[in-house]
Symmetry: D2
Subunit: 305 residues, 4 copies
């Protein structure tokens, strides 16, 4: 074999199959983003891939690492507008440099810090996860179609409405005085736990979503947000808020989805959202989960059952 | 509110949305399986869920745990035929006891040990992962359709064919004697690494697949299987085998898929397989991945490009 | 270099240092144990190592895998008495076959299932972690000293006593009727969460500890054990039990340690215990932890402050 | 109980034991550091704890979160000099605000990016882990003693010298021409794999260590560093470098430790280093590990065996 043979470009020995996805994962890069007047450097985990035609042995994976490096490096002097915009640039460039590919996909996640607090004076950094995806597709005539998704994950708290009700019934038998009208809405004990909720917007047709607004939507749908700094009185405030707002994972998901048309009025009907939520149950060793996918059109005009 | 109120059965307060999936995850159970003349107890991680209609606040999750416990307990005295059969029983029972649901899904994974060795006298237990899924769907007239999937993951080794070729070119310049015809097929240095490959059969229309055969197919598609016990000469044997069989992740995937019609001749054309493979690259800090999904019909009659 | 050179036995090229520990980790094996009339197969993760003298380049690691395989295989026909006994056998054998080593250590962990329930009729398998360690030391004259450790980890629930008190104070202001004497011990809302507690006995001088008793001690020290199957009334029972028994991680640890002399009266004063506990706080995104190490002698005769 | 009761300050109900460590873990914060002319924001995971006297029920954990928040927030306007200096400040402040404690400990880890490359033109960000610890101890008379540790982890590559030798012996039999003197040092095939090596300096008595120098020391001790961007010729260069520098984990550790007196000449004899290394073996499903702890004094004047 002569020097300089490109093994990737050979025909595959066996199994002349097109492959849906070939790429790299777990590649970490510091991406600089400028948004809302501030510059952040995000430590991003990328997963990038393209498809591979049946007549080519290998995908030229060193290009994936080069593209990531170039686009990330450029943000050090010219910050990206957002993680999802960087993903779109990467997806478009993947398709440009993998001439044999018809589709490129990019998935990114990064930790994100926001100053939050149970009150103004107790604000400190809370950690969240940013999520972004981009998909570039080569259409007829060489045009490239780009679809983006953007989202976030937030950890908060849920308090169980069912155990609350059965505790109430049980305590009423033990403490008849609880039947006093003035105690009717006394918040009752239940199990409560860490909840992780994730919301991703599939913005195929355009539109913008701010991470802060995604996080705000999620935290409003949990029984309560959680905070790093809680002095003694604050703990009571958060516990009380959660117990006045008990939620199944089903409630978290539906309340979150139901809030979206009001919170994101400018997104078009075709925009879809994927939502999932996990409660790390305190009374079980296992987790409870719910997930759904729905379009803004369906959220705006529910079909009934 | 009167005693005994079932909070789950109430109408949701907001967001009267059907939810695609509500269930429990990360629940661990010891399932006893009798297969090929031997009884194994598998430590299984289950994820089970049903959908939820729009007019019902919550899914009755305690039933999920009960069903799992009952079916698992029964296997202690009457072992299941297979992990996937247990999943099917669980899926059918989920649908029976969640009368409001139209679909139930079960996913299971379990560690599995097989005695393997580089030679007969060096066999010892190697660890693999079994995978099984089941989906029960309520059709018109109350009939229930069941679909199953079964698969496995095996860890082996890949050696890179591209770096092998560029090393050969480079070493030829440094060691002209390498051009000697007797050294033409001398295996050359390259990077090699741990590879995890997963293969799942979607047996919607029936058919049986043995875990041992899935594992054998995967190990045959990697550059080499790996073993716990390798004495000095054995190491050379495995290293040499891998370097005589260098593979990209693309090759692992295609060779695996191409081997399936021959290895599983009785599976029908409609059976689909999902395959994915990850090489934990030794020369990079990140991983390289490939994945595909294809039917036996497509594997038997490739469409060309 | 002649055929058959043992590279490990050469002198190191640089850095003629004794090394404290060289070995293998993450090796998984199915170990068969017979205890209390029942035979279990545990899927064990082993970590085994020996020290290495300064004049030897490498440790003969293939022996580690062989010893593990032999001892594990033997249990298939002659079950081990316990995980810690298997660890001791492995440690002794490591020292025998690594003639150059002066110390061998073995660490093992395995998932373990026990049938438990909030009531007799609702028992099902709950998952725990077994822990075992062994250390073999070569003393003067070639004698080998063996030390063992054995323990377990259990997941349960804690309810916070501090937030409970501040909630009580706050609710008293809002609901003056709560001051009624009949409501004095009404359990109040607080945050509660998943708690993981681990207890390991260092049995250097001998003594036996049953995993079931370690798990029972841990679960008695948490605010409440947790269960897979909880029907509606049972949830109230567990929630109520936890709220009548609120605990900081400090309380879990001290109550656990304080209970040990009574629960394990036959263990000698020289036996040490290591205990650690983690509460995955529901009102924070981070965890709260406590740990301690103390001897039975110190537990039996506290020194005062 | 009167309003405002501090539950933590009560006497424990049972088990009046001093506890070695009570604190928080898994708390994430963005810490701004200015070093070598550049400002970085590190996403740090902190674990902070103090001991607890026997007469006090609970540790005032909200102070831990407050201290972390204050010190981290201050770095937003006045960057810290280093992660370990921030840890020292936190440890000192923990002891100041937990008046009942005699010891405070802080552990921190953070991802860190350095521009590296196989050649100048192929530099891009590679990811590493920074490690820092601080311990504050209250001495007699109220003085506080501070000890710091600082280190890093780097992922690189090892090639096995033993399998290389047995492959050479085997190939010599198959290819007699390999015996040609001009081919004597031809690098031979072996297994190679991802290696993670960690080095931590215990700077109790002072001294400074730069993360870049720790990382450089580790990468020099592995068979080869690894890089994100490797074009075809570069792969051969890295593979060749690794095969000309084959290493057991024992060699990585000894070569690393032996290099330290030369690389860090100003550190005093009393400084200790902890080093550990893990090779994720390509020919096994398990890992191979080695670890050691030694002082600079011992490294400078080895005691012989």
């Amino acid at each position: 074999m002569s020097a300089g043979t490109d093994i990737h470009a050979l025909a595959p020995a066996r199994g002349q199959l097109k492959l849906r996805s070939v790429g790299v994962s777990g590649i970490r890069k510091p991406l600089t983003v400028h948004r809302r007047g501030a510059t952040h450097t995000l430590a991003v985990t990328f997963e990038v891939a393209v498809d591979l035609p049946s007549d080519r042995k290998g995908s030229d994976l060193s290009r994936n690492a080069e593209i990531l490096a170039e686009i990330v490096d450029e943000t050090a002097t010219r910050p990206a507008e957002s993680l999802e915009n960087a993903c779109s640039s990467i997806a478009a460039e993947l398709l440009r440099r993998h001439a044999y590919a018809s589709e490129a996909s990019v998935r990114a996640s990064a930790e994100y810090f926001l100053r939050q607090g149970v009150s103004e004076s107790k604000r400190s950094f809370e950690d969240y996860t940013l999520l972004a995806e981009a998909r570039a597709t080569r259409a007829a005539g060489g045009a490239v179609a780009l679809a983006r998704a953007v989202g976030a994950e937030a950890v908060g708290m849920t308090a169980c409405p069912c155990a609350m009700e059965t505790c109430r019934e049980r305590l009423l038998r033990e403490y008849p005085r609880l039947d006093d009208p003035s105690l009717r809405d006394l918040p009752m004990i239940t199990h409560n736990q860490r909840n992780r909720t994730r919301l991703v917007f599939e913005l195929d047709g355009g539109g913008e979503v701010e991470a802060e607004e995604v996080i705000a939507a999620i935290e409003a749908a949990q029984s309560s947000p959680t905070y790093a700094i809680l002095k003694r009185g604050d703990e009571a405030q958060v516990v009380l808020a959660a117990h006045r707002n008990p939620k199944f994972v089903e409630d978290v998901l539906r309340d979150l989805l139901a809030s979206l048309p009001g919170r994101f009025p400018r997104l078009e009907d075709a925009v879809a959202v994927r939502a999932s939520t996990v409660s790390e149950e305190s009374i079980h060793k296992y987790n409870v989960e719910a997930s759904h996918r729905v379009t803004f059109g369906e959220l705006r005009r529910p079909a009934g059952r």
